[in-house]
Amino acid sequence: MNIPNVNLPNVNHLIHAYRVAPWRVQRQWIGNALLVVVVFAMVAALYLNVTSRTAIAGREIQDLTDAIAASQQVSSDLQTQLAGLTSAASMEKRAREMGFRPVEPGELEYLVVPGYVAKDAVDLSSSAQPQLNVLTIPPEYNQSLLDWVDERLVTRRYQ
């Protein structure tokens, strides 16, 4: 295979001239400047986006806090209305209107129910009261990317 006869100093000179051409330097500067502007714009847009979403979420929290308070009040109000409808006087009146009367001691029959234990008093404990706290929030919602990477590395190290 024949290698063409090339004048190498001339080629190097041309490449150097191309690299140092003023328009090319200018274009590099402009490109770099534009890159900085674009990066800043992207960061600003991201910041603006996150901030606006945070603000919306905060406003929703405020609204929900008010809604919870209002719901609690409504719930208490309805509970009180219900208690009024089932008060001793109301129930007795309704029972009498329906033809009931107080039982006489001689009309009672006591039965043994094996295993039955009469309850002493009411238990108003809430069996399930889900409380959203730091421990119950999934890590996806409160873990940064670096935290996640760190956790992965630590997990891999101990596997």
Binding site: T80, Q81, S125
Partner: protein
């Protein structure tokens, strides 16, 4: 061409740089302008706002989960003067709906205090009235011509909770009430005010949504579960009201307690008020002791005191049930002659007969045989002259005069033995007699069963007082009292259930002298004797049908006990003992 392009670029860059610099300069100028401080102050003013949070006051339930005190929504009606369009329409609508004076409303709206943009026209408005006004405002807005607002624009409604009692007057003497400032008066509401209170909190709240987490949390008050049984309370009040009419009594009480734990199951009093209209307090009561006389009103208990004199005599070894004495019908003590209730001699009597016939001479004999020291030591141990510790506001300690007091006389040793010359509350009597029903140990009466906070219920343990008498004394005396009722065929007996108890008839001191025509009649009893599950105290004040406890309070006790065994699911003795054997 290239040079021209380069120059244009430089000019453009210069122009842009100048424009950017101009923006920076302008920003700096605005930041430091005289108006900047005003804007900064405005931003500070709007950064936070004063807001009032109305946490719910803790609810009150009976032992079966029936709501006795809760919250309902009421409204504050006000006017936003900055957006108000028609003061006449607002004044007219509000005056019509809330029955207020039109001219007064106009005056308030048109001449507001300096710098005020919101005026409260009325507060604690019922939901129905507020809803009517809200509907009217909405209708006027809809009917208003295009581009204009309705006549009630500016009328505003703010909801907030208010204490409400769904049972109205039921158990009013136990619950007490809450005024509009949120302060509890009497009963549970006053005693546990700080625990129940979810008082409104006015705080600075950030308007910046990024600071939403700074919104303060105003916790609701603690919910209370009482030992009271609502149905038993209703039955007790019903029976008491009937008894007042039947026996012509001026006032009265029926209190029911579990003698083994001190839990108060019902406390009925003749004077009750609708707690939703607490402003009528003055119309119902003459003084504070009348709100709950069971704990606040002292009186001379009469013969029910003989239970405790006999308990002291048996426990100190002064007598046994078989000890006899000769009843001559009168006895001299401290220069004063004491007589039996019927002024007759009863001959030779043992201690069961002494209780059965309620003989004063017997009691004077016992107290003098014991001596003042022993007798008063026992009475002190039974808690007379001391608070019982019940968790209700306005308890009175009563008064037991003892030797050494300026107003104690030797005759008091005799009269105190049968319940005259001593001031006690009905609850003190119950607490003292609980020692007899509860194997010698006194209970501390209480109405709080449990507290509920953050979804968890915390039960309050029962508390006990001293043990003034031995278990053997208590058992012996219970048996003596049961036999005395059975032998007498007392009207207090409860078919199917063995009960122990004692009547009381006490003359009422009027202007320093006992008036034989005016008496306090009472009965204290408990059952079933072998496993006491209820103790009932009946007190009728100045009955006109009969002056005797055996003819007034005793039958009321029986009726109450018959209702109580049904409502408390207590089978008759025969069935219960049969079940126990299985």
């Amino acid at each position: 061409m290239r040079q021209q392009y380069g120059r244009r670029s430089q000019v453009l860059a210069g122009a842009l740089a100048f424009f950017a610099l101009a923006i920076v300069v302008q920003m700096t100028r605005i930041q430091n302008s005289p108006e900047a401080d005003i804007f900064r102050q405005l931003s500070k003013d709007y950064a936070y706002e004063w807001r009032t949070f109305y946490p719910n006051r803790g609810e009150i339930y009976d032992r079966n989960g029936r709501l006795l005190a809760g919250e309902k929504i009421v409204y504050e009606v006000g006017v936003d003067l900055t957006i108000m369009t028609d003061p006449h329409a607002i004044s007219f609508a509000v005056s019509d709906a809330l029955d207020m004076d039109y001219n007064q409303l106009m005056e308030v709206i048109q001449n507001p205090p300096e710098g005020i943009s919101y005026i409260v026209l009325a507060d604690y408005i019922e939901a129905s009235q507020a809803n009517y006004l809200q509907d009217l405002k909405k209708a006027l807005n809809e009917q208003a011509p295009e581009g204009s607002m309705g006549g009630l624009t500016g009328l505003q409604f703010k909801s907030h909770p208010q204490r409400s009692y769904p049972e109205n007057a039921l158990a009013s003497n136990i619950l007490g009430f809450v005024n509009r400032e949120g302060r509890g008066y009497f009963g549970v509401e006053e005693k546990y005010d700080s625990l129940l209170a979810g008082n409104p909190v006015t705080v600075l709240v950030p308007t910046d949504p990024n600071k939403a987490f700074e919104i303060p949390n105003a916790p609701n008050g603690t919910t209370l579960v009482l030992t009271i049984n609502r149905d038993l309370q209703a039955a007790a009040e019903d029976i008491l009201d009937t008894a007042l009419g039947t026996y012509g009594a001026q006032d009265g009480i029926i209190a029911i307690m579990d003698p083994k734990s001190g839990e108060m199951l019902a406390i009925a009093t003749s004077r009750r008020m609708d707690l939703n209209e607490f402003w009528n307090y003055d119309a119902v009561y003459d003084n504070a002791t009348e709100f709950n006389p069971v704990i606040s009103k002292t009186y001379e208990p009469g013969s029910v005191m003989k239970i405790l004199t006999m308990a002291a005599a048996l426990d100190s070894g002064t007598v046994t049930p078989e000890t006899t004495y000769l009843d001559t019908g009168e006895i001299l003590i401290g220069g004063v002659t004491i007589q039996n209730w019927d002024r007759n001699p009863w001959g030779v009597q043992n201690m069961v007969g002494c209780l059965q016939h309620s003989l004063n001479i017997c009691m004077v004999n016992l107290s003098t045989q014991m001596g003042a020291n022993t007798f008063y030591n026992y009475m002190d141990a039974f808690g007379f002259g001391h608070l019982t510790g019940v968790d209700l506001a306005w308890e009175a300690p009563g008064r037991l005069k003892v030797p050494g007091d300026a107003d104690w006389y030797p005759v008091d040793l005799g009269t105190n033995a049968f319940g005259q010359g001593v001031a006690v509350t009905p609850l003190q009597m119950m607490s003292a007699v609980s020692a007899v029903a509860n194997n010698g140990r006194m209970v501390i009466p209480h109405v709080l069963y449990a507290m509920v906070r953050d979804g968890r219920q915390y039960e309050v343990p029962d508390q006990f007082g001293t043990t003034p008498i031995s278990e053997q004394t208590a058992d012996t005396l219970s048996e003596m009292l049961a036999i005395s009722l059975e032998d007498e065929s007392s009207e207090a007996l409860v078919p199917g259930y063995r009960v122990a108890g004692k009547t009381g008839t006490a003359q009422i001191p009027v202007d320093g002298y006992y008036d034989s025509s005016q008496t306090n009649t009472s009965f204290i009893g408990w059952g079933p004797v072998d496993d006491p599950q209820f103790m009932i105290y009946v007190w009728l004040e100045r009955p006109t049908e009969s002056p005797w406890g055996s003819e007034t309070a005793a039958p009321v006790f029986s009726e109450m006990a018959q209702r109580a065994v049904i409502l408390l699911d207590i089978p008759p003795d025969a069935i219960r003992q049969q079940l126990a054997k299985k």
